[in-house]
């Protein structure tokens, strides 16, 4: 029964990873760009939430309504007035610029908040859990995170397929020059995509901050998990990303159960095996 429990915990953890991965995948899908500061920006959101909660003393879950739109704005401005300039020419440029950003954010947070672990206190929901008999139980809050990530994927898919703006996202992704000929301002679309992606990881960052503790330095690991979920799931497949996230979550919790030091390693190992056996991922969408 212990193992059933471990797998359930892994699935729930995977929900969080899927949320990080969805943002990464959206940005890559729309502008073929990988944001190396992706994880750090989600940690930044958690710290912003910490500030908000400190100032107005509300539940961090409520603070989300301020933090997420704010980070959306940060993403829009960042892309529109900085990263868009790096999209011309060498594909290394956005990577170098976002790597620099990652260093700035990590050290900025370190300077502002020190290296101490922080947590966001959402009250009793954090520890509430449902026992299913035996040793099997799951926390309501991790379940909520999984539900949120499924909801985000559903909403994002609906946005991309059902709305005119969503279709513009996909058209820009297919052929940005042809999209411009339709009256689509690709720079605005890129900025919106980054805004939405960062809003999603901001949500992930706050939820993670409630679920566990965080420090300024853990951003890069979030980026790596998001990446592993995206690659395992298959580029361009949103449900694949969810499955990838869950696989990673299960691998890590199973690994932790075997030996605490090897938890993350087992996650990487599963990723490497998928990369070796199915480099295009499990649910790769065939383009063209």
């Amino acid at each position: 029964m212990t193992w059933v429990n471990v797998v359930i915990q892994g699935i729930l953890l995977g929900g969080l990873y899927a949320l990080y991965a969805t943002g990464l995948s959206l940005v890559f899908g729309v502008m073929r760009m990988v944001n190396l500061a992706h994880g750090d920006l989600s940690i930044l959101a958690a710290f912003i939430c910490l500030l908000v909660v400190g100032v107005v003393d509300v539940n961090p879950l409520l603070a989300i309504v301020v933090v997420v739109p704010f980070v959306f704005l940060v993403g829009y401005v960042l892309q529109r007035f900085l990263l868009n300039f790096t999209l011309k020419g060498d594909e290394m440029r956005p990577l170098l610029a976002t790597f620099g950003l990652s260093v700035i954010i990590q050290n900025g947070l370190l300077q502002g908040f020190s290296a101490d672990s922080r947590g966001l206190d959402a009250g009793s929901i954090e520890s509430a859990s449902l026992a299913l008999g035996g040793k099997v139980a799951f926390g309501w809050f991790p379940l909520l995170i999984l539900v949120v990530s499924v909801l985000v994927i559903v909403l994002l898919n609906a946005f991309l397929t059902r709305t005119q703006l969503g279709r513009a996202f996909r058209a820009t992704s297919d052929d940005q020059e042809a999209a411009r000929l339709m009256g689509i301002d690709n720079k605005h679309i890129y900025a919106l995509a980054m805004g939405i992606a960062l809003a999603i990881v901001a949500l992930a960052g706050v939820l993670m901050g409630i679920r566990t503790t965080f420090t300024p330095g853990i951003g890069p690991a979030r980026l790596v998990y998001a990446f592993e979920a995206v690659i395992m799931g298959g580029l361009g497949s949103s449900w694949g990303t969810l499955v990838g996230g869950i696989m990673l979550g299960v691998a890590q919790t199973v690994g932790f159960q075997l030996s605490p030091g090897w938890g993350i390693f087992v996650g990487h190992l599963v990723f490497v095996v998928v990369l070796a056996v199915r480099p295009s991922g499990l649910f790769a969408k065939t383009v063209n």
Binding site: D175, L181, G183, D185, N288
Partner: protein, 234 residues
Amino acid sequence: MSLLELEDISTRYGDFQALFSVSLSVNAGESFGVIGANGAGKSTLLKTIAGLLVSPTGTVRFDGEAVEHLPAHKRVVRGISLVPEGRRVFPSLTVHENLQVGAYGKRGGPWDLDAVYEVFPLLVKLKNKQASFLSGGEQQALAIGRALMSNPRLLLIDEVSLGLAPVVIRHLYEALADVVRSGMTVILVEQDIGQIMEVADRVCCLLEGRKVIEGERGAVSREQITEAYFGMRT
């Protein structure tokens, strides 16, 4: 009254100069043909009008206003629409979605989904098919239909016939004739002289980036164009 006036256009790609001080004017309601060999600068000319390329010199006036500094997406809103070379439909979108995206600029007018499906009935049954699975002719029809969805006042079409079978080309040109009859101003670019001489009111010929001949359909003979096309005149 001229809808489009180009003056002294000399567009370049980096070190390569594609156009040399080209000037021309196109009247409202007119269909204008641009003929030239591969590499004569025809596509460059259309891209400069559409705003994908910018000439370091000269002016582009549309409906009396200078638009040479406007980016492509803003020129669409003004009413300039380009059907690009190679069709460039959005491969992962369905036919219907491609048309919907065509209306992104939100210009009102007679062209909507129904009107486009009426001019290109073959698209109706392909509505929910992903554009990447369409044949070349179907993609071309879709590309033209998609451009019409923005209700342009000036429609630029880059090589309708490229890589298509003669029968398909004829069908497309028949549909285009309908569009022209509706009063749309059209600039057509072709390598092939045949079709364009039937649709265009006026033609010009480009040779190595320079305009070498221009005139009414009746006033310019095929021989003159052929000579200009290959640069045989001295």
